[in-house]
Amino acid sequence: MEADQPSRERIAAAVRQYEVEQFYYDEAALLDAHRYEEWLALFTDDARYFMPIRRTRMQRELDREFTQPGEMAYFDDDKTLLGGRVAKLQTGRSWAEDPPSRTRHLITNVRVLGDDGSELQVESNFHVYRTRLRSEEDSWIGSRRDVLRRVEGSFRIADRKIFIEQTVLLSRNLSNFF
């Protein structure tokens, strides 16, 4: 990176980074505020939401660390199912979320890995912290690989893959979103 005046390209890249990060921060704010329907609207109709199962493997076999689509997973949703989850939270009978969990999504290390003008490949890291009731605590840490589609001057999530670090999940459920 040169010390002198940045080129138009570098400025454009920096601005795009800013806009992608803001998109993620806004998304996180919607989740932490339990504004699930607005969150759902950030996904394209053809979106996939996938969190594979991770397994402790020897180095030799690390290529088989994660399960693949079609195998078992923690989340393997299309938008309809994602909508079902949101609907569930709004039935007034979603007991495990009433009182609601208190979550905080800390989003870091956002990287735009590709951009063909219409779609971006973006990776980010997360620390999702949850407390419930008097003093229950969960921390889920991992990374996401998204496809962001440019739609009406903003972004939509066309694909999200969530890679969590734990193999045995150290929490009682996954009643929140990532």
Binding site: M51, P52, I53, R55, T56, R57, M58, R60, E61, R64, T67, Q68, G70, E71, M72, A73, Y74, F75, D76, D77, L81, G83, G84, R85, A87, K88, L89, T91, G92, R93, S94, W95, A96, E136, T167, V168, L169, L170, S171, R172, N173, L174, S175
Partner: protein, 454 residues
Amino acid sequence: MSVPPIDDLVSLERGEVDRRIYSDPAIFEREMEQIFGRAWLFLCHESQIPAAGDFFAAVMGRDNVLVVRQKDGGVRAMLNTCAHRGNAVCRADEGNAKGFLCTYHGWSYGIDGRLLGVPGHKSFYAGEVDKNRLGLTPVAQLASYKGFVFATHDPKAPPLEEYLGATGRLGLDLIAARGDMVVVPGIQKFVVDCNWKIAVDNLFDWYHPQVSHASAFRSGALGPPPERAGGYDEIDMAGVNMESGAGIDLSVGLISASKFDQVVVIGEYGHGIGGPTVSSSGSIEVDSSWRATAQAREALGPVGVGVAGHPSIFPTTWVTTVPVQLSLRIPRDPTHTEIWWFTFVDRRSPPEVQRFMVTMANRVFGPAGLLEQDDGENWSQATAQSHGIASRRVKHLVNMGVGRGRIVKEHGLARIEGLTSEHGQRWTYHAWAQWMKGTSWDALRAATTPGDLL
């Protein structure tokens, strides 16, 4: 801390359980000895380890066990601990190995557990290491029933088939008889802060879904309510209101709103099956045609073929037929339990059917499952309320239908017909108490043989 008299802890007659069994550390230690040190425990399914050297890391109580496919096609299981100084010889969850190397001093074992290599055997040990005696310790007994691999630490335990009895076998047949069943890659594993028995107690609890899972049913995410065969009958919900004062409208389909015929099967050593009958459960199973096959009718028998409920193989194995899954509740400590989910498909069924089965499994159970995500908090809170000096004096009730369960014995099975009940839970706790007494296998069998009434 000492263990209270066992007979004070469970009353079969009243259907009452003492809550101390959910948090007392001394009782937990006794469970590790008397139950997890003796019972046949499910390890994995043979389809998970098809090739020689394929292994799966299983848990028996607090023992870590390696289940390994052998060159001769057989399966062996051994403690994952080195004969030298106890280090684990394999630290992966699953994979394929040509052998096991202890990374501490290099003792090296075959996939059969035999001690093959000892660094400096000649030079340091003067060749005196008794390699035949010092392999990885095999489990006391291992057996496979139609691909389901079980093991026990107790050399005196009865053979697996006898241990399972007709009830346990039927539980497994309800999976096996569907076709050429294989486990789908990916075992879900998570930890719930509850006592393991609270989670087991829930196995054939057909009383809770309507309320616990009301949000899942209403969300529509499970698809349209299943059609039901025969007349439809609302559960009476008089006086049942949410904390807002409003009632819970359950009218969104079968499980969530109606009562229907159920059958509970109970067996020796504490096994059981509980839930709807095929005829009453309508289209819950989506497609029951497999039951009509000769294979199925022969394997399940006249009673079993009509069973659509949840089999439980004592102490911690749960079978569900919709979706086709097997779940373990693995005790970590008195108030933490690991839940594992194994999912099955019929290798011979069309890809889209297999995909459908996987999709259904993904959305129903597991930590993010639309149903199961609401279970944990109930179990956790039930466990939490067993600590208080006053709260633990309140009994844990499993008395629904107590003394009204007439036991019919046919085709080697003892069954009770009726509506939703807590016969199954009561039977499980009764068996638990007998196990905890540490009596002989014969005495245990006798004490857990169904009578005429429950």
